[in-house]
Symmetry: C2
Subunit: 178 residues, 2 copies
């Protein structure tokens, strides 16, 4: 792997309203070599159950944990890690990604509809994946792909019961403990 | 620009159920230099109104059109373009993106929950942005970012009334016709 551990903190999750978008954040994170997502906002048992189902079937390691106090999470992480907040209002990724230190773990902040101004202040870098209205899921995916220098798309997971046999046409899934 | 026009075809949109996910597909496409998205499934006046609001405020060109018959869209495009279908069951992007001809326009198929097998057959390339369960929004974003060789994040839009003044902390938006 190109750099140490990367974790994601999803801010301001709302039950029902955000379930699908946060699920996309989780799936994108898992597919791109992130093994831990923390979320704050409202606790969502259904979301946790759904992602656990994906991990049971397709493998891990991948942990999702809930934390009410997102400010203290960021403050704790800042002691040893770099905190990157993805926002359309920040510095364009093309101009600042190279500044993120390579030897430190990274905590990526992903907002939902409205992000508190403290997130902007607490972050080490406010990074815009394009300074345009965007999808936070798309922004996260591009940020992680570039952060891992194109090597983040993970192919080997542990303890899954299913995996895809890639095909030019159609679908093939192989079952069995790996 | 690194290559000719790229358009996106969003398959199987469902009113209400998919509005937010399709909106993410539209925003990611626009931010990544796509100027046309076609969608099929159910027609959605609210979705069209919301994206038009974004284009009015932030600029274009960016067109969203509805087409009922997605098969004929693909068949028409195939005559002059390359059709790339993003699916977790396809060939890993790391192994096949270089095969997509650089001199032709590209139509990118983005599915929703369940994609008809004809889409797999009609596509020139079935491409997996990782062979794992994933977010179609994340997959589209990474595909476009890589297709445009990292130059797809668009900074100049026409006729918008707003733009971001990038900042290290906080938010700043500038108003006025560009």
């Amino acid at each position: 792997m190109v750099r140490p551990e990367v974790s994601v903190l999803r801010l301001g999750h709302r039950v029902d309203r955000d379930e699908r978008a946060t699920m996309h954040v989780l799936l994108a994170s898992r597919a791109l070599s992130v093994s831990e997502v923390i979320y704050s906002g409202q606790r969502d048992a259904n979301l946790e159950k759904r992602i656990q189902g994906v991990v049971d079937r397709w493998g891990g390691p991948f942990e999702v944990t809930y934390e009410r106090n997102w400010r203290s999470i960021i403050q704790n992480w800042k002691e040893s890690s770099v905190v990157c907040h993805l926002t359309m209002y920040g510095i364009n990724i093309n101009e600042c990604l190279h500044k993120v230190p390579k030897e430190k773990p990274v905590l990526v902040l992903v907002g939902s509809q409205k992000v508190h101004k403290d997130a902007f202040q607490l972050a080490d870098y406010n990074i815009a994946v394009g300074n345009q209205p965007h999808s936070e899921i798309a922004a996260l995916a591009i940020f992680l792909d570039r952060l891992f220098e194109g090597k983040g798309l993970k192919t080997e997971f542990e303890k899954g019961r299913m995996r895809v046999a890639p095909r030019e046409k159609g679908k093939k899934v192989i079952f069995g403990v790996l």
